[in-house]
Symmetry: C2
Subunit: 155 residues, 2 copies
């Protein structure tokens, strides 16, 4: 099947310049501040975004140069399939984080709860809407009982 081509629409800026020490999820990066710099050509797309408290950022794991179908995630010591973990080393290295929107300043979004490395190329921004993106009767497989170790967990 054909390749799919995307272009970065901006850059994510954070205090984390290396994978080592970067929070493994927004929950472990609680309070961490950063900015999303949207390239000026796209600024018109931000109309009314300030009404949303949380945004879904989709981005390219640019430091991920290969993938593994099975790997040990940070929160476990046995390997799981790549589609059952959130490792950046994925067939298509697309990252997803739900971050808190603090303020909007022209093409700069000030955000919190960042678990993203500085300089990461931004692919998309979507409004986070619980009625769309949350679910009930949830089971979390191998992560059950391990979530409690998440707080402040870094790579």
């Amino acid at each position: 099947m054909n390749e799919i081509h995307y272009r970065p629409i901006g850059i994510i800026h954070s205090p984390f310049t290396e994978p080592q020490g970067t929070p493994i999820q927004p929950a472990s990066g609680r309070g961490v501040k950063g900015t999303v710099e949207l390239f000026p050509a796209y600024v018109g797309g931000l109309l009314d975004i300030e009404g949303f408290s949380h945004l879904i950022l989709l981005y390219h794991f640019h430091r991920s140069t290969s993938f593994s179908l099975r790997a040990c995630p940070y929160l476990d010591d046995t390997p799981h399939g790549v589609f059952a973990i959130r490792s950046p080393r994925r067939p298509n290295p697309i990252g997803l984080s739900v971050v808190r929107l603090v303020s909007v300043d022209d093409n700069i979004l000030h955000v919190q709860d960042l678990d993203i490395i500085d300089g990461t190329p931004l692919l998309d921004i979507k409004p986070f809407v619980p009625a769309f993106d949350a679910a009930d009767e949830i089971r979390i497989g191998w992560l059950e009982g391990r979530i409690k170790h998440l707080s402040r967990k870094t790579a």
Copy 2:
């Protein structure tokens, strides 16, 4: 900045062959059944996925051939920025749906709550984990008061 290249890792099969009539979100596709066909090369990545009740599907809006920075979403009659709505007509047309995983049969995932058109190229599967992907103290901007119209809403 350089182009980013991805490859489909599978195909999403659903009862919806045209955008017209496709639910606008998983919540309005509640109970709709479909399958995610993962290409055989990636089947090793499914290890332990059956422990998760819900999956995040990332996919390519293959019917979206252009984008608009501002548009009227289905749930409103005034235009909003593309990053404040979930329209497929995005600068990078990446779709995101949280679906219910019913069963796994080799490289076929049987899922429910589909709002995705038949034949859509799959980019990634991630386990849905509320501690990672949900948030509290949420505001939903222009959608406030409009969510109640979501049930069974189709394009």
